[in-house]
Symmetry: D2
Subunit: 363 residues, 4 copies
């Protein structure tokens, strides 16, 4: 249980890293939304390995298959089923280390929870590969948000302690798509690349921070007191493996601010109520304010490192040394960027439907 997300735009994830496929069902997408396989493929391609120095992991073709819910280029109102096949699979290394708990991975927690019956190969359900499904759902969600004029984007703002300079919203998207690390600041990006090369040579890995932004979000999304917009975004983003923290607007900086500094003052612009600053990150009382939604997620360093690590052999219940082979990403941050966008888009769709902002049929 626990593999569905969203109340009206409901995403159900399935598949394992080394099973036949990874897929997703989207239930609740209104009928009549124009969408092609290529639209979805494009998002899936953005999260594929091998696009930057940071990512040298497993290569997959990841061809999107539509099994249900889309017909003649439009959604039908029926559940949409999408999947990508798993192809580039060599499970032998996992067989070798089957009983050695990989530090930073879910091997131990999964072993206990599923009594050892879980598919451990490649991390099974806990693999980053599962996010291929997230991204397919996000592709549908982005298209649907597009009918409202809502745009979702994300970018790397920190890698391995190197922080990017702040960049205007309009410049982020084009800059990010040209940059292999998906960082909009070219100078920081260069330093990050150098760091990653160094860290790779050491057989180590690094983490970072991704910032997600949603523009043109209508006022009024969010269903407090419990189904808040920020709460559901946080939950959705923490479903990305490796995310360890989520903050909105000024985020953890609020701990050092005065009320007079942190309060965003209201004013009127072009006949609309806006705030002069956006420390709230676009959310007040769990509801969207109409200002950009700003969320940052902390992404931990890739857990699979080449350096030997001490651990436990769970079958023999004794200490052991683990050496992980194979190809692994050094830094997952650039590939997390489209996944952050996807989870934001999916959550915003759910709330837009709950608020009645999207009709039952798109025409």
């Amino acid at each position: 249980m626990g593999n569905s997300l969203g109340k009206l735009f409901t995403v159900t994830s399935f598949g394992e890293s080394h099973g036949p496929c990874v897929g997703v069902i989207i239930d609740g997408c209104p009928a009549g939304l124009a969408i092609t396989r290529a639209d979805i493929q494009q998002e899936v391609d953005r999260r594929r390995a091998g696009q930057s120095v940071a990512s040298t992991g497993r290569h997959e073709e990841d061809r999107v298959e539509i099994l249900a819910g889309i017909s003649n280029g439009f959604t039908t109102g029926a559940p949409i089923c999408l999947l990508v096949r798993n192809k580039d699979i060599d499970s032998s290394d996992y067989e070798r280390i089957k009983h050695l708990l990989r530090p930073g991975h879910a091997d131990y927690t999964a072993f206990v929870k599923y009594g050892g019956f879980n598919d451990y190969r490649g991390g099974g359900r806990f693999s980053g590969r599962i996010t291929a499904g997230h991204v397919m759902a996000g592709a549908i969600a982005k298209k649907l948000l597009g009918t409202l004029g809502v745009e979702v984007l994300a970018h790397a703002v920190e890698i391995g302690g190197i922080k990017a300079k702040s960049v205007n919203y309009e410049k982020i998207k084009p800059a990010v798509e040209k940059n292999p690390l998906r960082c909009a600041d070219p100078i920081a990006s260069r330093k990050m690349s150098e760091l990653i090369e160094r860290v790779r040579a050491e057989g180590d890995s690094v983490g970072g921070i991704v910032e997600g932004i949603a523009l043109n979000v209508p006022v009024g999304l969010g269903e407090p007191v419990f189904d808040t917009l920020d709460g559901e975004l946080a939950k959705a983003l923490l479903a990305i493996p490796a995310v360890k923290g989520v903050e909105f607007g000024a985020g953890f900086r609020v701990a050092g601010l005065r009320g007079s500094e942190n309060n965003d003052l209201f004013t009127i612009e072009d006949g609309k109520v806006i705030t002069k600053t956006n420390n709230a990150g676009g959310v007040l009382g769990g509801i969207s304010t109409g200002m950009p939604i700003i969320v940052r997620v902390a992404v931990k360093p890739v857990a699979s490192i080449l350096k030997p690590q001490s651990t436990v052999d769970i079958e023999q219940m004794k200490e052991a040394t683990l050496t992980i082979g194979g190809r692994h990403d050094v830094c997952i941050v650039p590939r997390a960027v489209p996944v952050v966008e996807a989870m934001m888009a999916v959550t915003l769709c759910d709330f837009a439907l709950r608020a009645g902002k999207i009709p039952g049929v798109i025409r």
Copy 2:
């Protein structure tokens, strides 16, 4: 909608700040749990105003009433309904500023979402007072977790930029209960008090950070890939007004760590698998590891400040100056401590039930 939390241990919140009462329904608590009105009252008393220099806001008796679900000192298996009456209410100041959007509050978002029909007095549903219901639910949840040996505690670790020193888990609880700011470091606490006095004199407010800890949590709580333990904790904690960020274990620090630093190495202690460090904050793959769960929330400065602020008159759609009167907390952090505990306890109960760790009847 959106006022229920939890799948098997379901908390439904109701009531407004200046309406007849604030209350909560807990559905899903197993029958046979011994609990008294005093157990619940004790938690409610911990979040009351007037216990420290930080809190000079509205004073309420907050006497807990049990309307359903508890009989002869035991839960019956039926939904539990608890409430506290609202008493110390003067709505006249809210009448005066009815059309002035208070910066940092949900006045604007609620006005748009509910078409002006929402009860704006005292913030209505968006008042911190609503957390009296959270805390009542938490009291039940804590008792239920007690049957598993799980303990939940929280403390203030930062106020207005002043950071507390790290303290051993065993020392936090007793230290916190003696300290008016609920900070376990007495030296930092003194500085925080001085800062708060200063800030009060300026008619301003400050924010801070609360750390929540859960001890003895069994391995295996959490239902990935979407209903992760960390994701649901984050969602529950973001239902506390003023929380703007949530992080687990090393949290945002992971952005600057190497994999070899951040990975918690497995080892064996007393025949049990543990990790040597706890950068994961007790959660891997969305599932509890058995190590302490460590979560920190960023609490923004109180939005109601005495300093005049520029804002918008929403009825006349023109700029205006707002001066808020009445008594308001300068820093909500100490009062947030029991609320953080409550939301953690509620979430852990839900997952303990989902994992089958709690029987249908407590005997």
Copy 3:
């Protein structure tokens, strides 16, 4: 768990027969709906005891209290909490028969499920009294449906084997409200009354059938393949104690019909697609057709009868004879009529919201 119904218009029931109160929370009602205490009281009064020969049970004042969610005569968008206090309570007879399982009641199933901790007095959560909450929720739902022009009504069509003649929809409502048995056929009603008197003299009880009708339901309500309109109606109606069957349109008669008899042929009337007959009862493929929704529920005879019955003493685990004292209804059918309307209205509201037929704010 299990005390909430509905996805967007969510009704949560609480309270026990002999506890402080019986109540309900409605979460998801849009803001701006005009509703008074009197509107709700009127529905509650319709289900009170003592209005006909059939009902001689416990008399309660059942004064509706509004605890949250309605302000100045309008819903606020916040959860609505309504309750009636329990007053006319003598639990002594229940104390006497505490360990004797009353046939036809939930004493045994509740005893096992809740380990004997359930409030057994007056049936506790399993009492028909719980439906006072259903009816309060129904009052809100009816008002909300009224904004769409949807009308819900019900009537007794069979009592103790005596069947009422079919009556035109327009005549049912006025006829029913004048008739103490809520049967629109005055001749059948007279016979039913005579039967009930006879059955009362024998210390026995009788069952019957209630038919519920919803008029002007828009085409398109229902979310197949699982959340069908008929499926959710059936679930909601089976939450009325004593209901043992639910059928739509031709119902069980379809077992003997040919396709050519049962198929409702489409035609056009006033520019609208309608069907010439309505064997479907207004539902095709789990979705409303725009024709009247017709549902019938089988109501079992009241389980509490004055005749001695053999049963089991659950404490001593031996056979025993049970003699039930006190006042009990002979036939619950007339009082079930407003409850059937309530459960239909609640379900239709949920689907109308899901289909986007009701705006977020009523103006």
Copy 4:
């Protein structure tokens, strides 16, 4: 939305009649359940066309594919994804009658609800073919119930007005599996076959009644007041196309019974509390009593008949005559039998999990 069923054992349906496949996801099945493709295939084979005189519809190989959640013959705890491909598809007749509303089908309601974007070919999502997914989920559910000793069976008790004699539970299963109409009474079965032949010759169809039975169900399943065992069973069974009514135990007969006739008296047998009769059909207060669960569903005559029918051309908005070609079942009752079993099994699994009767890992 609306394509998921169950809270802890959650079944999500996808696929269209003439799309690539029909499938299902089962989320919440504990890890460690032994199950093979053959176990699932066997149930799917039971609902295939062409096994009796009643069924002459579309022939499919219906080979079950396992895409996720089962590994090495055991469930892994991950979501299980199963599907059958659609093969024997000729959509040309549907193209011809695309704008003619087929009476008794969901053509009109789907057209309005999904704005004409729904896949109308073969009824799309409203085809009986969708129940191949129900049956695959049921196969998993039956296996899981088997670990508790619970058995689910169903049989045809009425076809076209011809009623079968009552048969002992133990004899039903073997008798049913030998009988092409799945009726345990061979004499009635012969008459039913003759009737069906006659009706086929007339180009017409007939309905009937299926009875479902669950044996060895533990006491205590069901979560009143709203998530009752009978309510959820009814909802699940009404998700079978063509079902128009559901009744438990004495069902609609209760309308003519006295309380003294209908009440099931408690007694003790082999140290266990049982009832002497089972008019309750195994459910009291929405909770299982431990007696067999008995439910009957009314199945309407197949809507696709060869006789010409008058209807509406929805594009031209004018009356028209419809002549349906192709092969269609004359009576769906025998094929509905395994589907009734499946929906019962799925519902019982959900409640067994909710009641904590099934462990998180099967060993």
